[in-house]
Symmetry: C2
Subunit: 140 residues, 2 copies
DNA sequence: TCTTGACCTTCCAGCGACTGGAAGCCCTAT
DNA sequence: ATAGGGCTTCCAGTCGCTGGAAGGTCAAGA
Protein backbone atom coordinates (compact mmCIF):
# COMPACT_ATOMS: atom_id res chain seq x y z
CA UNK A 1 0.00 0.00 0.00
CA UNK A 2 1.31 3.41 -0.84
CA UNK A 3 -0.49 5.27 1.94
CA UNK A 4 0.72 4.98 5.52
CA UNK A 5 -1.43 1.96 6.31
CA UNK A 6 0.45 -1.25 6.99
CA UNK A 7 -0.30 -4.82 7.96
CA UNK A 8 0.49 -6.50 11.25
CA UNK A 9 3.58 -8.15 9.78
CA UNK A 10 4.93 -4.81 8.62
CA UNK A 11 4.07 -3.19 11.94
CA UNK A 12 5.95 -6.04 13.57
CA UNK A 13 9.12 -5.50 11.57
CA UNK A 14 8.92 -1.73 12.02
CA UNK A 15 8.49 -1.96 15.78
CA UNK A 16 10.35 -5.08 16.78
CA UNK A 17 7.23 -6.57 18.37
CA UNK A 18 6.22 -9.92 16.75
CA UNK A 19 2.72 -10.24 15.23
CA UNK A 20 1.65 -12.76 17.86
CA UNK A 21 2.72 -10.44 20.60
CA UNK A 22 0.91 -7.47 19.04
CA UNK A 23 -2.30 -9.51 18.97
CA UNK A 24 -1.65 -10.53 22.55
CA UNK A 25 -1.20 -6.91 23.63
CA UNK A 26 -4.49 -6.09 21.95
CA UNK A 27 -6.20 -9.01 23.62
CA UNK A 28 -5.13 -7.98 27.11
CA UNK A 29 -6.03 -4.35 26.44
CA UNK A 30 -2.54 -2.89 26.52
CA UNK A 31 -3.20 -1.36 23.10
CA UNK A 32 -6.53 -0.43 21.53
CA UNK A 33 -8.13 -2.87 19.06
CA UNK A 34 -6.57 -2.23 15.67
CA UNK A 35 -8.54 -0.77 12.79
CA UNK A 36 -9.50 -3.35 10.19
CA UNK A 37 -9.40 -3.44 6.41
CA UNK A 38 -12.35 -4.80 4.47
CA UNK A 39 -10.84 -8.25 4.55
CA UNK A 40 -10.66 -8.07 8.37
CA UNK A 41 -6.88 -7.75 8.38
CA UNK A 42 -5.55 -5.46 11.08
CA UNK A 43 -4.38 -2.07 9.83
CA UNK A 44 -1.71 0.06 11.50
CA UNK A 45 -0.44 3.58 10.95
CA UNK A 46 2.69 5.41 11.99
CA UNK A 47 1.23 6.34 15.39
CA UNK A 48 0.47 2.71 16.14
CA UNK A 49 4.00 1.75 15.22
CA UNK A 50 5.35 4.43 17.51
CA UNK A 51 3.28 3.08 20.38
CA UNK A 52 4.55 -0.42 19.65
CA UNK A 53 8.12 0.81 19.62
CA UNK A 54 7.55 2.57 22.92
CA UNK A 55 6.28 -0.67 24.40
CA UNK A 56 9.16 -2.66 22.96
CA UNK A 57 11.71 -0.32 24.54
CA UNK A 58 9.97 -0.23 27.89
CA UNK A 59 9.83 -4.05 27.90
CA UNK A 60 13.49 -4.32 27.01
CA UNK A 61 14.21 -2.15 30.05
CA UNK A 62 12.49 -4.79 32.14
CA UNK A 63 9.25 -2.98 32.93
CA UNK A 64 6.31 -5.33 33.44
CA UNK A 65 3.31 -5.03 31.13
CA UNK A 66 1.43 -3.37 33.97
CA UNK A 67 4.18 -0.78 34.32
CA UNK A 68 4.33 -0.36 30.56
CA UNK A 69 0.62 0.41 30.62
CA UNK A 70 1.20 3.12 33.21
CA UNK A 71 4.13 4.55 31.27
CA UNK A 72 2.02 4.57 28.13
CA UNK A 73 -0.78 6.44 29.90
CA UNK A 74 1.73 8.97 31.17
CA UNK A 75 3.30 9.22 27.72
CA UNK A 76 -0.03 10.08 26.18
CA UNK A 77 -1.05 12.52 28.91
CA UNK A 78 0.15 16.01 28.07
CA UNK A 79 -0.69 17.15 31.59
CA UNK A 80 1.43 14.47 33.24
CA UNK A 81 3.89 15.25 35.99
CA UNK A 82 7.48 14.16 35.43
CA UNK A 83 7.38 13.23 39.10
CA UNK A 84 5.07 10.29 38.40
CA UNK A 85 7.32 8.95 35.68
CA UNK A 86 10.34 9.30 37.89
CA UNK A 87 8.61 7.51 40.75
CA UNK A 88 7.86 4.56 38.50
CA UNK A 89 11.41 4.46 37.22
CA UNK A 90 12.95 4.63 40.68
CA UNK A 91 10.65 1.90 41.97
CA UNK A 92 11.88 -0.24 39.10
CA UNK A 93 15.49 0.55 39.96
CA UNK A 94 14.88 -0.52 43.55
CA UNK A 95 13.32 -3.73 42.38
CA UNK A 96 16.25 -4.39 40.07
CA UNK A 97 18.73 -3.69 42.85
CA UNK A 98 16.97 -6.27 44.98
CA UNK A 99 17.08 -8.87 42.24
CA UNK A 100 20.71 -8.16 41.46
CA UNK A 101 21.66 -8.48 45.12
CA UNK A 102 19.79 -11.75 45.39
CA UNK A 103 21.34 -13.23 42.27
CA UNK A 104 24.78 -12.05 43.29
CA UNK A 105 24.50 -13.70 46.71
CA UNK A 106 23.42 -16.95 45.06
CA UNK A 107 26.10 -16.70 42.43
CA UNK A 108 28.81 -16.24 45.05
CA UNK A 109 27.54 -19.09 47.17
CA UNK A 110 27.62 -21.49 44.25
CA UNK A 111 30.90 -20.22 42.86
CA UNK A 112 32.47 -20.69 46.28
CA UNK A 113 31.09 -24.20 46.57
CA UNK A 114 32.24 -25.07 43.07
CA UNK A 115 35.69 -23.77 43.80
CA UNK A 116 35.93 -26.07 46.77
CA UNK A 117 34.87 -29.03 44.63
CA UNK A 118 37.79 -30.94 43.20
CA UNK A 119 35.75 -31.90 40.17
CA UNK A 120 37.41 -35.21 39.50
CA UNK A 121 36.08 -38.75 39.11
CA UNK A 122 35.59 -39.26 42.80
CA UNK A 123 32.13 -38.91 44.34
CA UNK A 124 33.01 -36.53 47.21
CA UNK A 125 31.55 -33.14 46.51
CA UNK A 126 31.05 -30.14 48.83
CA UNK A 127 28.19 -28.88 46.65
CA UNK A 128 26.08 -31.96 47.32
CA UNK A 129 27.21 -31.91 50.95
CA UNK A 130 25.91 -28.39 51.30
CA UNK A 131 22.58 -29.23 49.69
CA UNK A 132 22.27 -32.23 51.96
CA UNK A 133 22.99 -30.69 55.30
CA UNK A 134 23.27 -26.95 55.40
CA UNK A 135 20.60 -24.38 55.97
CA UNK A 136 20.38 -22.07 53.01
CA UNK A 137 20.95 -18.44 53.91
CA UNK A 138 21.41 -17.09 50.45
CA UNK A 139 17.79 -15.92 50.14
CA UNK A 140 16.81 -12.29 49.49
CA UNK B 1 2.19 -40.83 65.25
CA UNK B 2 5.04 -41.98 67.42
CA UNK B 3 6.95 -43.81 64.70
CA UNK B 4 8.83 -41.87 62.07
CA UNK B 5 5.90 -41.66 59.68
CA UNK B 6 4.50 -38.19 59.14
CA UNK B 7 1.81 -36.51 57.07
CA UNK B 8 2.32 -34.16 54.17
CA UNK B 9 1.73 -31.14 56.40
CA UNK B 10 4.41 -32.25 58.81
CA UNK B 11 6.77 -33.08 55.95
CA UNK B 12 6.09 -29.57 54.68
CA UNK B 13 6.98 -27.87 57.93
CA UNK B 14 10.04 -30.08 58.39
CA UNK B 15 11.34 -29.38 54.89
CA UNK B 16 10.14 -25.90 54.08
CA UNK B 17 8.33 -27.14 50.98
CA UNK B 18 4.56 -26.44 51.11
CA UNK B 19 2.11 -29.35 50.80
CA UNK B 20 0.82 -28.13 47.44
CA UNK B 21 4.34 -27.97 46.12
CA UNK B 22 5.18 -31.44 47.40
CA UNK B 23 2.17 -32.83 45.54
CA UNK B 24 3.23 -30.88 42.49
CA UNK B 25 6.75 -32.34 42.66
CA UNK B 26 5.22 -35.79 42.86
CA UNK B 27 2.93 -35.06 39.94
CA UNK B 28 5.76 -34.00 37.63
CA UNK B 29 7.91 -36.92 38.73
CA UNK B 30 10.61 -34.99 40.55
CA UNK B 31 10.00 -37.18 43.59
CA UNK B 32 8.60 -40.72 43.70
CA UNK B 33 4.90 -41.18 44.54
CA UNK B 34 4.55 -41.11 48.31
CA UNK B 35 3.54 -44.16 50.31
CA UNK B 36 -0.06 -44.06 51.50
CA UNK B 37 -1.77 -44.80 54.78
CA UNK B 38 -5.00 -46.82 54.86
CA UNK B 39 -7.00 -43.61 54.57
CA UNK B 40 -5.10 -42.67 51.40
CA UNK B 41 -3.16 -39.92 53.13
CA UNK B 42 0.40 -39.54 51.92
CA UNK B 43 3.02 -40.84 54.36
CA UNK B 44 6.59 -39.59 54.61
CA UNK B 45 9.65 -40.74 56.51
CA UNK B 46 12.93 -39.06 57.42
CA UNK B 47 14.52 -39.94 54.08
CA UNK B 48 11.68 -38.28 52.20
CA UNK B 49 12.05 -35.17 54.31
CA UNK B 50 15.76 -35.09 53.58
CA UNK B 51 15.07 -35.27 49.86
CA UNK B 52 12.57 -32.46 50.18
CA UNK B 53 15.06 -30.35 52.08
CA UNK B 54 17.67 -31.04 49.42
CA UNK B 55 15.23 -29.83 46.78
CA UNK B 56 14.29 -26.77 48.80
CA UNK B 57 17.91 -25.74 49.14
CA UNK B 58 18.73 -26.35 45.50
CA UNK B 59 15.68 -24.29 44.49
CA UNK B 60 16.68 -21.47 46.81
CA UNK B 61 20.03 -21.42 45.02
CA UNK B 62 18.15 -20.75 41.82
CA UNK B 63 18.49 -24.15 40.15
CA UNK B 64 15.59 -25.01 37.85
CA UNK B 65 13.50 -28.08 38.59
CA UNK B 66 15.24 -29.82 35.72
CA UNK B 67 18.62 -29.04 37.25
CA UNK B 68 17.34 -30.06 40.67
CA UNK B 69 16.36 -33.40 39.17
CA UNK B 70 19.88 -33.86 37.86
CA UNK B 71 21.42 -32.86 41.18
CA UNK B 72 19.13 -35.29 42.95
CA UNK B 73 20.16 -38.11 40.65
CA UNK B 74 23.80 -37.30 41.29
CA UNK B 75 23.14 -37.04 45.01
CA UNK B 76 21.69 -40.53 45.08
CA UNK B 77 24.36 -42.04 42.88
CA UNK B 78 27.21 -43.27 44.99
CA UNK B 79 29.31 -43.76 41.86
CA UNK B 80 28.88 -40.18 40.72
CA UNK B 81 31.79 -38.06 39.60
CA UNK B 82 32.26 -34.76 41.42
CA UNK B 83 33.12 -33.43 37.97
CA UNK B 84 29.52 -33.74 36.84
CA UNK B 85 28.22 -31.85 39.87
CA UNK B 86 30.81 -29.15 39.37
CA UNK B 87 29.94 -28.81 35.70
CA UNK B 88 26.29 -28.24 36.59
CA UNK B 89 27.18 -25.70 39.23
CA UNK B 90 29.54 -23.78 36.97
CA UNK B 91 26.97 -23.69 34.18
CA UNK B 92 24.56 -22.19 36.66
CA UNK B 93 27.13 -19.60 37.72
CA UNK B 94 27.64 -18.61 34.10
CA UNK B 95 23.93 -18.26 33.63
CA UNK B 96 23.66 -16.14 36.77
CA UNK B 97 26.53 -13.94 35.63
CA UNK B 98 24.69 -13.31 32.39
CA UNK B 99 21.50 -12.38 34.17
CA UNK B 100 23.28 -10.15 36.64
CA UNK B 101 25.09 -8.34 33.82
CA UNK B 102 21.83 -7.85 31.96
CA UNK B 103 19.96 -6.54 34.99
CA UNK B 104 22.85 -4.29 35.92
CA UNK B 105 22.94 -2.72 32.47
CA UNK B 106 19.21 -2.09 32.61
CA UNK B 107 19.40 -0.77 36.13
CA UNK B 108 22.11 1.71 35.20
CA UNK B 109 20.27 2.88 32.12
CA UNK B 110 17.12 3.61 34.09
CA UNK B 111 18.93 5.10 37.06
CA UNK B 112 20.76 7.42 34.69
CA UNK B 113 17.54 8.43 32.99
CA UNK B 114 15.81 8.98 36.31
CA UNK B 115 18.66 11.10 37.53
CA UNK B 116 18.25 13.35 34.52
CA UNK B 117 14.53 13.70 35.19
CA UNK B 118 13.67 16.73 37.28
CA UNK B 119 10.70 14.93 38.77
CA UNK B 120 8.52 17.99 39.29
CA UNK B 121 5.00 18.87 38.18
CA UNK B 122 5.99 19.69 34.64
CA UNK B 123 5.45 17.15 31.86
CA UNK B 124 8.96 17.19 30.34
CA UNK B 125 10.70 13.93 31.11
CA UNK B 126 13.85 12.38 29.59
CA UNK B 127 12.63 8.92 30.50
CA UNK B 128 9.60 9.16 28.25
CA UNK B 129 11.70 10.93 25.63
CA UNK B 130 14.06 7.98 25.58
CA UNK B 131 11.26 5.46 25.30
CA UNK B 132 9.76 7.49 22.47
CA UNK B 133 12.76 7.97 20.27
CA UNK B 134 15.85 6.06 21.19
CA UNK B 135 16.94 2.62 20.15
CA UNK B 136 17.35 0.44 23.18
CA UNK B 137 20.84 -0.97 23.51
CA UNK B 138 20.58 -2.30 27.02
CA UNK B 139 19.81 -5.88 25.95
CA UNK B 140 21.92 -8.87 26.96
C1' DT C 1 -24.09 -38.05 69.68
C1' DC C 2 -23.33 -34.41 67.03
C1' DT C 3 -20.67 -30.94 65.34
C1' DT C 4 -16.89 -28.21 64.56
C1' DG C 5 -12.55 -27.52 62.63
C1' DA C 6 -8.19 -28.93 60.96
C1' DC C 7 -6.37 -31.81 58.29
C1' DC C 8 -6.24 -34.60 53.99
C1' DT C 9 -7.81 -35.94 48.96
C1' DT C 10 -8.63 -34.79 43.89
C1' DC C 11 -9.21 -31.74 40.05
C1' DC C 12 -9.33 -27.37 37.64
C1' DA C 13 -7.93 -22.59 36.89
C1' DG C 14 -4.84 -18.81 36.89
C1' DC C 15 -0.46 -16.02 37.30
C1' DG C 16 3.18 -13.35 33.42
C1' DA C 17 4.36 -12.84 28.97
C1' DC C 18 4.39 -14.87 25.52
C1' DT C 19 4.93 -18.77 21.77
C1' DG C 20 3.60 -22.68 18.81
C1' DG C 21 0.38 -24.95 16.09
C1' DA C 22 -4.00 -26.12 13.75
C1' DA C 23 -7.58 -24.90 10.62
C1' DG C 24 -9.06 -21.86 7.50
C1' DC C 25 -9.49 -17.24 4.64
C1' DC C 26 -7.24 -13.80 1.32
C1' DC C 27 -4.44 -12.38 -2.29
C1' DT C 28 -0.85 -12.56 -5.75
C1' DA C 29 2.03 -14.79 -9.02
C1' DT C 30 2.83 -18.35 -12.09
C1' DA D 1 -5.53 -23.91 -11.31
C1' DT D 2 -2.50 -23.90 -7.84
C1' DA D 3 1.10 -22.83 -4.82
C1' DG D 4 2.91 -19.72 -1.50
C1' DG D 5 2.77 -16.39 1.91
C1' DG D 6 0.41 -13.74 5.13
C1' DC D 7 -3.62 -13.02 7.56
C1' DT D 8 -7.57 -14.70 10.86
C1' DT D 9 -9.22 -17.29 15.10
C1' DC D 10 -8.74 -20.37 18.93
C1' DC D 11 -6.45 -23.68 21.89
C1' DA D 12 -2.43 -25.49 24.26
C1' DG D 13 1.97 -25.25 26.34
C1' DT D 14 5.88 -23.02 28.78
C1' DC D 15 7.75 -22.55 34.34
C1' DG D 16 6.86 -23.22 39.07
C1' DC D 17 3.85 -22.95 41.57
C1' DT D 18 -0.70 -21.23 44.08
C1' DG D 19 -5.66 -20.72 45.01
C1' DG D 20 -10.05 -22.61 45.29
C1' DA D 21 -13.90 -25.94 45.08
C1' DA D 22 -15.88 -30.18 46.55
C1' DG D 23 -15.49 -33.79 49.36
C1' DG D 24 -13.29 -37.58 52.77
C1' DT D 25 -11.14 -38.34 57.63
C1' DC D 26 -10.17 -37.74 62.19
C1' DA D 27 -9.79 -35.94 67.15
C1' DA D 28 -11.71 -32.92 70.47
C1' DG D 29 -15.46 -30.45 72.63
C1' DA D 30 -20.60 -29.32 73.87
Amino acid sequence: MSNGIISIGEAASCSGVPPKTIRYYEEIGLIAPAARLENRYRAYDETDVQTLRFIQRARSLGFSLKEVGELLALYRDRRRHARDVKRLALAHVTELDGKIAELTAIRNTIADLAQRCRGDRRPECPILDELETRATDGGA
